[in-house]
Structure formats: C-alpha cells, structure tokens
Symmetry: D2
Subunit: 162 residues, 4 copies
C-alpha cells in the first residue's frame, strides 16, 4: 500500500526569510518531517504547489482534483493552508467518492518553535490508512468529514458546522 | 466521547538532568504536548507510573490492565517505553477485547530536538478514535495489532513478526 | 555591577501570530532567553518599546538616548532591530562617551528554530562587561565600534564600513 | 586574526542515542552551532578529543596544553565538560601566560531543547577577542580568571572561590 502525499504549501511549509523579515516558501518541509517522525509508511510525495491557501483560486482546486483522480493510489494526504482547507475539502468531497483523502495543515510553521505540524501529520497518516473512502480534514486531533467542517478563524481551530 | 490517556513513562517523558548529566523522569510532558498539538479532543490524563519500560515488571502490567478495565471509557491511549511495549500490548491484547487500546511511545524524548513523540501521539489519537476494538501499537506511522508486532532493536523501529 | 538591559524590540522579540499568519510583538523574550542561558549576571530589564526598527523615528532614538543617560549604570545592552541598528548606534555614539553601550539583535526570532538570538545575547553580555567606554554593535560574533559598522542587507550581516 | 577553537567534547557535544537510550558523542556540534550563530569570525576548529570531562586524565590535559602551545594563534577557545573545567583551566593558567584562552561548555547539550550552549559560545567568542592574555572560564554570562573559579555542583553553576 502506497500513500500519495500531495503538497500544496500552507503554513506547514512557511519559513522565515531573514533578509526581509517576511514569511515565504522555499521548498516543502515534508521530507524533514517524515524523517523526524521516523515514519516507515510507504509514501510518495508530489509537490503540486507551494501556496498560501488564501491565494488559491479555482484553477488550483481543479489541478488538485485532477491530480487526485490521476493517482493510481486510493489513499491520499493533502497538505493545505488552513484558511481555505474546508473549501477545498468540499470541492473534492463532492467529486471523489472512491478514494480516502485526508487534508491536513498547521497553525504554526514546522520550522518555528512549538509547531503543531508534526502532530497533525501523524493524525493524517493514521487516518488515511483506516478511514472509509471519502474526503476528510484532520486538525486539532479530530477527524471531520468534508461536509461538516469549518475553520473558526477567531480561535484558530476547526469545528463541525452542525 | 472521552479518551483516556494512561501514562506509564518511557522515552517520551525522559528529561535531561543537568546536575548529573543523566536522563530521568520529572513529570509527564503530555499536557505540554497536547497544548503544542492544539489538540481539542476530549482527553483525560491518568499518570499511572513514570518508568523506563526495561524496568517494568509483572505487577506493573497487572496495574495497567486493572486500570484499563476500571475506566468507563472504551478508548484508551497508553504511553509506554518502546523496549517492552510489544510485551505489554500482548499482555493486554489477550485479556481485553471490548475496548480500543493504542500503545504509543517515542524513540527520542519530547524535550530533546528532533523528537518523534508528537507525531506518534498524533497517530495514536487518530487511531484510537477509529480502529475497531482491540489492542494496537502505533509507531513509525504504522498501526500494528498486538499479536503481530515486535521492536527491531537493531534499527530502533517496529515491524510485524510474520 | 548591574548591567541595564534596554529592550526596543526587533527581530529577537518577534513571534508568530497563528490567527492571522503575521509576525508581531507580544512581549519581550529576554527573561526566557536569560533563563535558558542560565545567566547569573546582575541584569535589570527596561522594556522601552517593542518596535520593528524600520519604524523607529527620531523621537524613539531620543527616548533611548534619554534612558541611557538617566540610568545610574554605566554598562548598557540595547536589543534592537537590525535594519536601523547602525543608525541608532551612531546617534548614541556621538552623544554618550562615559558609558559602555552594546547594541545587539538577531536575524531570526528567538522563538523560531535555528535562531541566532541567544548567541548574540551571549556576545553582548560578555562585551559590555569588558569593553572600554563607548558605543558598539555586536553581531555575527564580531564587535564593531559605532563609527565603523553597517548592515549589509544583501547578505544579512554586519560589516565594517572602512 | 584567527581564533583557534579546540574541542574536547563535554555536554555541548553530547547527543541522544535512540538505540540504547544513552547519551554519547558522535561528532562535534560546533560547525552547526557557528552556522546557527551566523558567526563570521575567522575560526579554525581542532577536534582534539570528544570526552566527558569526568573521564579526562592527566595525559588529556597535557595534550591540550601541548596543542595550545603549538598553535600560532594567541586567541584560543576550548570547549570542555563542566565537571573538571576549572581543573583544566588551572592546569593551563599556571603554564600559559602569553595567550588569551577561554574555556567554555554547557549544562544542557546543544542538540536538546533549551540548551545554554549557544549563549555560552557567544560569551566565549566575544571574550577571547577582548580579554587580556590569560586563561579564563566563561559560564553563566560571567568571565572568571583561572585562579578564582569553581563549579558549584549543587546548583550547576560557576562561582568565584574567594
């Protein structure tokens, strides 16, 4: 069983640019994270984009959908910015029924202190192996189905809608 | 749904004693870990012991069994040293059939750099919510049933036996 | 001998705001840094402002000057953003001749991974105790007099001018 | 001006061996530390040994002395375990009068969380550049001459004797 790990960027992968004091993307932190995690699961990484999810547009979501459909694997983890993660989950959830897809991100970049990224990745890797087919978000230790999840921006956490 | 989080110690909770240069236990790191993880799952911590699992004896395992049976919750995570984790899983797995119990630990202490503890805890919190009743070990991103898991001490990782 | 530790903010003290994904100031990290450093030197902290030094204006520098003059201590460390650190050093260096003042900052915030802040603070605490009266900048392990130092913004490091 | 950086091991360089759960030496962390510090000072590293200073014997100190005498540089930093640092400082201080030598170490390994190693290295790099000829220890932000320093093992800190 191979799990596909599709990277879109998001807070997980943000790093600090010491030359201008801004946050930016250089590359994905996922290989470093998997090494630190001592993860032995058979994962195949696909870096599709490195974007803040606030700047994701329709064509980005269509690209992600196309990628998910094209993979021969039926277990897919998508790392994604939190701001529009629920939107992408909904977009995929309505269209893909024959795969287990778990979207995951972080509130604090992996490369900063006290990041939640590694914990969240653990949740996602576990969930994708055992959840029934469908599209999910895992954040804050919880697993949400795509049609009942929202980001509470005031508290920076994910909740059910209903 | 409340998840019981039973702590027995192990590498996760080891800290460095700067006065004598040795590793020791002070208290459990789990509350700090759950805070860093931004975990919102309803968890109840029970610090049963703080032991290196090499020094666990039969009465320790009986205490853990007794605790697991006594909880009203049927979802239990046990943090445990890796050296005898498979032994405790087997001990519990033969006796408890009506609860989902996930044992988890770490190869590197949480308080040190590059620890796998937070990732492993994420795997466990996800697994305990969705796995069928039974006793499991989650390490290296994998989930093993109690009757098919061993620690490969040469590589410091967990494998199936068969 | 008491050393005055005047905080103005700068990268040292920046933290990540997980709610909006931006860098901000909450409070100074200096007490945490001194604790981690196991520093036993008699230091007295004065939080004068928490500013990105790009936004420092003339009145800010006048406030810092006034503070430096008002302290009874003749050894002063000033934590400061790097972008205009050389400007503040020049402003103070021309006016204060009877105290040892060391300006110091960081290229990476203390709360992020791989920060230079603690190293730089060590340089400053050592330098302020043993340098002759005058105003200095310490960055990159070097100690520069106020009248021969500039930030090389291309490489993110400090150099002599001449 | 080149500074010689003589490594003897000590807590600074200890790492966690995840296979046996013990602390050990693999290599020196100093190149990583200097990179994190963004240090631009001209330093030349000489890895003389990697030892816990409790296990240092007379011939080790004679080797260090011989090395210090042989360097053409007259500014030398020695990284050293804290337990017998004062003893080595005394041994060198009685014999070398024409160089500035600063001994430094750490109470917490660099590779663990909350280490004082980088701060201490900053103190040493600053001190070696500006202190008069002689042998010193820098720990806890303080600079001690070789003939008036001891480790207080109860509190894990360095004090003057007199």
């Amino acid at each position: 069983m191979t799990i596909k790990l599709l990277t879109t960027g998001g807070t997980v992968d943000k790093v600090y640019n010491h030359l201008n004091g801004e946050l930016c993307f250089e590359t994905t932190n996922l290989p470093s994270m998997l090494k630190q995690a001592r993860c032995n699961v058979d994962l195949e990484l696909d870096i599709v984009m490195l974007k803040d999810s606030l700047y994701m547009v329709d064509t980005d979501r269509k690209d992600i959908l196309k990628k998910c459909r094209s993979y021969k694997e039926d277990k897919i983890i998508i790392t994604h910015g939190t701001d529009t993660m629920a939107e992408t989950a909904k977009f995929l959830g309505e269209k893909i029924k024959n795969k287990t897809i778990v979207l995951v991100g972080a509130m604090i970049p992996y490369s900063f202190g006290k990041s939640d990224a590694l914990f969240n990745l653990g949740c996602a890797i576990s969930a994708v192996q055992h959840m029934p087919k469908g599209v999910y978000i895992t954040m804050n230790g919880k697993i949400f189905p795509w049609n009942n999840v929202m980001k509470n921006k005031k508290f920076g956490e994910f909740n059910t809608i209903k």
